[in-house]
Amino acid sequence: MISSGVLQIILFMLVLFALAVPLGNYMALIYGYLPESKVPVKSAKTNALLRPFIAGENLIYRMAGVKPAREMGWREYALAMLVFNLLGMTFTYLVQRLQFVLPGNCEGLAAVSADCAFNTAVSFASNTNWQGYGGETTMSYLTQMLGLTVQNFLSAASGLAVLIALTRAFSRQQVETIGNFFVDLTRSVIFILLPLSTVLAIFLVSQGVVQTFGGYVRYKPLEQMVEAAVPPSSSPSGAAPTVYKIARGPAASQIAIKQLGTNGGGFFNVNSSHPLENPTPLSNFIEMLAILLIPVALCQTFGKMVGSPRNGMALLAAMTAIFVACLALCYMPEQAGNPAFTAMGIEQNASAESSGGNMEGKEVRFGVANSALWAVATTAASNGSVNSMHDSFIPLAGLSPMLLMQLGEVVYGGVGSGLYGMLIFAVITVFIAGLMVGRTPEYLGKKIEAFEMKMSSLVILFPPMAVLLGTALAVSLKDGMAGVLNGGAHGFSEILYAFSSAANNNGSAFAGLSANTPFYNYALGVAMFVGRYALAVPVLALAGSLVRKKKVPVSAGTMQTDNWLFVLLLVGVVVIFGGLTFVPALALGPIVEQLQMIFTK
């Protein structure tokens, strides 16, 4: 009999794919139509629906002085993307630093520290959403809305734009331009992210997610609590320590885009395990769908735009294969439970009353299956929100989300960035395998030559470099070691997890590491910056080179990239490249922890 946990996982996957295909087609439509043609489709009905959005799009172009029909070469595209992101970063930094004089600060929070503001600005602009701070104790409503939520939209839209530019490089031939960054950015927000977020936000409110400008709720408990989840008030009003606060705020609007844009930065410190962020099993299910929806749908968009949906499906199949394997790696040890608890006589078997398994650090309303699925989904997509504490997972189960990030966030991955990362792996796969069939390798008819290999090498080189060097720095410095809360191999896992998360723009936190220190704020900030922009620029350069090339017609001598053999190879290359890079580090972290758990009495 299939357990209810597995059933929920299967149901989740089915709903996900069913929704992703139409969304993928819709996005292909949106990115595909040319500004000159005014309307995306011939169907009058669809156009009527889209008319308000098109009007909004054109309004923005007029206001910003963007000429939508003027396309850009890769250099201009990359420059536009970089400058736009740097401006966003600077703005977010300033809002945080100045929040104490700005309105919308009902709790009277002080300016965010320079290192934390830097970290957060880079984090949200780079779609990482690593949070060194606790939301309700650090950020004012205005900062959350104007700084963080806006970046949630723009970072996701930037990722989408880079992907679409690369997609055009495959679909076009012998031209110089890969699109207009501002058009791609605007369309991503107006046609895709805004409508989806609006619907999701309203749904979340229906489930009990808070959305208010009202301040925090203060209450006096009937009984004095021994241990408070929320620390006693230290507000300047000098209220008695028996008064407690419940943080509130405009959360639903931020959480919707946090999930859809694979951002993951929680409104509250404990992120999606907070009852006001993720109150019910249904909200949990829908939020998980929102996390993976766009990255999965983009495979369909890509296939459609390059004129071969099968190629998009092959990429999706490779991602799904790794996803399912990592899910099993996470779920099975978790459900089996912790042998240490068993020794203590704690019941961990599934029964009618309990889902069983290792419940340490988990919410009872989600249980093991939905916690494991959430952990894997958020680390597969570069979402990084948590609904359980990964730190408390069985070591092998904790390895799964860590590995998913270390593979380069290409298993679904971030919005846009996941697929463009995967395409880089596809290029490398085609290069190695293409040689084995005796032809200069080509992907989707584009020859893969020295320049393409150079750019691809940069893309696969930077994230491991940032992870390994960052971790090495942290374990070698006093400042780095100061933040580690656990000793032994687990402490190492915590640091490795943090840098894996930052350099791959995930933002997931293992917990157990006090990262809101100048060292970690700066080190992780740099890792996030490198992980995003040192990849996006070579990807655009690759696009610029590919778009100039002719498309080689397909023949029997062409290596197919839409069959199972290719899927298998692609999985192999992703796992071997990612795995070989991190095996020694993982051996000193979760692997040795697992072995110690089993074999050391």
């Binding site: 395998a433 084995m436 200069t440 030559e449 020295a450 390994l468 029997a556 197919q560 890079t581 000193l588």
Partner: protein
């Protein structure tokens, strides 16, 4: 001198072997190694471990000196093996270059003031000749430099270049006017205009190509090198950061951090040394295979492009069909027996020395046992073919037998007062439709019937084209025939397409169109009128018998002048790329087992529990590391024959090739080192070496 023919020297030619061994040491020069990032890192590792060994001798080092020494030695051996692989590949080319160079001995040339036999002769050294100079070459002289015959006709021994001992005719004008420096005139004389300056001749280019002296990395090789360098950098990072990781682990657990020696060993095992060490050998060996096929490539780029070719332009005559048309059928007119027709046709052809004429004689003999008769005995008068009559024939014994083009014979018969039978007209149309050329035979006013001359498609060529199709290569037949004939032959030979009534302009247009559609086109040519198309094609093979213009425009020269050589060239190109891909895959796949050997060993003191990952049950940490390093070195040597010979190529589709190669080199690459390392470990411990 037949060096190019007899170059199937075994891989283990002792002279080359010794030279290669010595070269392996010479190449330890870091300036040489720096060209190859992978092997440079290995050499660096060798130096570091050597220093560590000496440090360990004087005061207690990080590990036992014997262990550091063994690792250091095997790292040096790894570099030497890679050098040896390259030297072996180069050695075979160099041997050829040496023998070619002998034919470049300086000769005295007879320089003429003007292109006339009467002109004054001035003796100058060949090395002083410049482009445009005019020289006289007489029987017994060596042609001093590449050039074009402007007067005279002579037989020339070109065996120095082609290895073919039969002399060839060189004459002014036409497609046989090119002469190559270093070849020898056997009879008569030639006046030659020099077409190349010293150092730029065909022979010079050939020497530099086979020698690999100016070997430049080919585009695909560069791309692969980038990937290998990136991998090397990744693993450099992995091992570099492993030290702090390990000292952290040691501080929270117990034991010693990983030793520098083990880190270097791990690094060398992880970086793709197998492909890194063999990469240049693969490239050189690919050129070598081409030379063995008697083809000289002007650049390595062309060889790679050959693997990519997806359209072949093939001349009909000589490539697809036998050189000449042959009589295959007699169709007699009403009231005339076939043997009667055959008899008349044979008599009319006895004096006709053209291959078509001979084939009629032969067919008549085969079919009706009609013996050849002596023209003298018959007292016959031969009427030769002329452009006006478009007939030939014979008059004897009151008969006037004529054979010729249908319309010509028809006019002749009607003129004689005869009639042209309807069934013959039909037969003639039929023959033309089937790709044959009809000849009509008549005797005075009487039409005897028609003879079918047909192109004979070479045996096995259809299968060859089917194989090419499976490889994804489109074949296009080029012919001067009319479209009807061309279509019939194309269908019979199984080519994908044809270009009938081809002119140089048409050929050029066809190539341009195909290239605009993204195809890579290969073609063979010999005549001057092929030069524009050759220059446009991606892979252009000129026949060695061809004109200077054709040779200038091509990027490969076929010394055998064999029209089917193109197919072989494509296979060699594919084989070259496949060998690279296979060894890269093998090299990367190897790393899995090496991790299983080294990781438990490296942290044996810090986390003894990691020994659970020692799935190969290696004897001791030291033995595990050493075994991995030894395996890593030996595998270069084991795979050297494969690198030199190339991965076997079969003409099957890409999917099957990929699947098979993936099984052998991917899966094999994962499994082989588990077995190899275990065996070495067993050997080491049984010999008590660790």
């Amino acid at each position: 001198m037949t060096q190019t023919k007899n170059n199937s020297k075994s891989i283990l030619d002792s002279a080359i072997l010794w030279k290669a061994v010595i070269d392996s040491f010479v190449k330890l020069d870091p300036r040489v190694q720096a060209r190859n990032p992978v092997m440079f890192v290995v050499e660096l590792g060798s130096v570091i471990t050597t220093l560590l060994f000496f440090a360990a001798l004087s005061h207690p080092g990080e590990a036992a000196p014997t262990f550091i020494f063994s690792i250091s030695i095997w790292l040096w051996i790894t570099v030497l093996f890679a050098n040896f692989a390259e030297s072996m590949a180069e050695g075979r080319g160099k041997a050829q270059a040496d023998s070619l160079r002998k034919s470049r001995k300086d000769v005295m040339a007879k320089k003429l003031a003007e292109a006339s036999l009467k002109s004054a002769i001035k003796a100058v050294s060949a090395s002083e000749l410049r482009k445009g100079d005019i020289v006289l070459v007489e029987a017994g002289d060596t042609i001093p430099c590449d050039g074009e015959v402007i007067e005279g006709v002579a037989s020339v021994d070109e065996s120095a270049i082609t290895g073919e001992s039969a002399p060839v005719i060189r004459e002014s004008g036409g497609d046989r006017s090119a002469v190559t420096g270093g070849t020898r005139v056997l009879s008569d004389w030639l006046i030659v205009r020099i077409s190349a300056n010293p150092g730029e001749t065909f022979l010079d280019r050939m020497i530099s190509m086979v020698e690999g002296a100016k070997r430049q990395k080919t585009p695909n090789e560069i791309a692969l090198n980038i990937l290998l360098a990136a991998l090397t950098l990744v693993f450099l990072l992995v091992t570099f950061t492993l030290y702090p990781f390990s000292s952290y682990s040691a501080s929270v657990s117990h034991g010693q951090p990983v030793s520098l020696t083990v880190l270097v060993a791990l690094l060398v095992c992880l970086i793709p040394t197998t492909i890194g060490g063999l990469l240049s050998a693969i490239g050189i060996a690919g050129m070598d295979r081409l030379i063995k096929a008697n083809v000289i490539a002007m650049s390595g780029r062309a060889v790679e492009a050959a693997g990519d070719v997806d359209m072949l332009l093939l001349d009909k005559t000589g490539t697809i069909t036998m050189g000449n048309r042959q009589a295959t059928l007699f169709v007699a007119a009403k009231g005339i027996s076939e043997s009667e027709l055959a008899d008349a046709a044979q008599i009319s052809s006895l004096a006709d020395e053209t291959p078509e004429g001979r084939s009629i004689v032969v067919l008549a003999k085969e079919r009706f046992s009609i013996r050849e008769r002596n023209m003298q005995e018959l007292d016959a008068e031969f009427v030769p073919f002329s452009a006006q009559t478009r007939m030939s024939g014979v008059n004897f014994d009151g008969r006037e037998i004529r054979k010729g083009a249908a319309d010509a014979v028809e006019a002749y018969v009607l003129d004689q007062g005869g009639t042209y039978p309807e069934e013959v007209r039909e037969a003639v149309d039929n023959i033309a439709r089937n790709g044959g050329t009809p000849l009509v035979v008549s005797d005075r006013g009487r039409v005897l019937g028609a003879v079918q001359l047909k192109d004979i498609v070479k045996g096995g060529i259809k299968e060859r084209f089917a194989a090419l199709r499976a490889m994804g290569i489109k074949t296009v037949m080029i012919t001067g025939d009319n479209p009807l004939t061309a279509a019939a032959i194309a269908a019979e030979a199984g080519v994908d397409d044809y270009l009938a009534q081809a002119t140089p302009e048409e050929k050029l247009r066809l190539i341009r169109e195909a290239q605009a559609g993204g195809r890579l086109v290969a073609m063979t040519g010999d005549g001057t009128n092929d030069a524009p198309a050759l220059a446009q094609a991606d892979v252009a093979v000129a026949m060695n018998t061809g004109t200077q213009a054709a040779k200038e425009a091509c990027n490969m020269v076929d010394l055998d002048s064999s029209p089917t050589k193109l197919i072989e060239i494509v296979e060699i190109g594919k084989q070259l790329l496949m060998t690279r891909g296979a060894l890269t895959t093998f090299s990367i796949a190897n790393d899995v087992a090496k991790y299983f050997a080294i990781i438990p060993a490296a942290f044996a003191t810090t986390y003894p529990v990691l020994n659970k990952l020692n799935v190969m049950q290696l004897q001791s940490p030291q033995s595990a590391v050493l075994s991995a390093v030894i395996f890593n070195a030996l595998v270069i040597l084991f795979l050297l024959p494969l690198a030199l010979k190339g991965v076997r190529y079969r003409a099957v589709g890409a999917s099957i090739l990929l699947r098979d190669n993936l099984l052998i080199y991917g899966l094999g690459g994962i499994v082989a080192p588990f077995i190899g390392i275990k065996l070495i470990d067993m050997l080491l411990s049984s010999l008590r070496l660790v």
